[in-house]
């Protein structure tokens, strides 16, 4: 799945997908739930504590 495909599936821009992937932006809870639903994972898997 390309960033463009994922962006279309989530109805966000490709830049937003890129920013989330590279850790420059943490998604809101509604968007994180959408990502978790799409990848059939838990919402906590979407977030990564880098501390």
């Amino acid at each position: 799945m390309t960033q463009g495909d994922l962006a279309d599936a989530l109805n966000v821009s490709r830049q937003t997908v890129n920013a989330i992937e590279t850790g420059r932006y943490d998604p809101s809870l509604p968007l994180a739930f959408s990502i978790a639903r799409l990848f059939k994972c838990k919402i906590e898997d979407v977030f990564n504590d880098r501390k």
Partner: protein, 136 residues
């Protein structure tokens, strides 16, 4: 919540289209304004003709608001940060120039405020885009 007008990826194109239409209306209003003022039947209509170019400016505000409602949360975040920085800088430039008129620079009409803010907004947007690309 997203304003479900169209997919987010079309937000930029729709915004540019709306801006082009609004700017076209602004240019047309500025162009026809002297004729309308000269041929106004009453002083009230003359006054209305004088403020005619202000109407597209308000339409621009509507267009910006529609764009803001259309984009996703990350784009909104960037949009608001850019707007805050650019209008802060633009306001400082305007106030600084106001004081510089006391030092001998020619006074400018208040209508210069909007182009100043618009240029500041465009420059800040460009710089933020370059910085965003560099971060990737």
């Amino acid at each position: 919540m997203q304003a479900a007008i169209a997919p987010v990826k079309y937000a930029g194109r729709l915004y540019l289209l709306e801006c082009a239409i609004v700017m076209g209306l602004y240019v047309a209003a500025v162009w026809i304004r002297p004729w309308l003022v000269a041929h106004a039947a009453t002083p009230e209509l003359g006054s209305a003709a004088k403020v005619l170019p202000a109407l597209p400016i308000w339409l621009m505000l509507v267009s910006v608001w529609r764009y803001y409602r259309h984009i996703d949360e990350f784009e909104r975040h960037k949009f608001l940060v850019t707007l805050a920085i650019s209008f802060g800088i633009g306001s400082c430039v305007i106030v600084t120039y106001a004081f510089l008129t006391d030092a001998g620079l020619p006074p400018l009409a208040i209508t210069w405020a909007w182009p100043t803010l618009a240029v500041s907004w465009a420059l800040t947007t460009a710089i933020m885009q370059i910085a965003d690309h560099a971060e990737r």
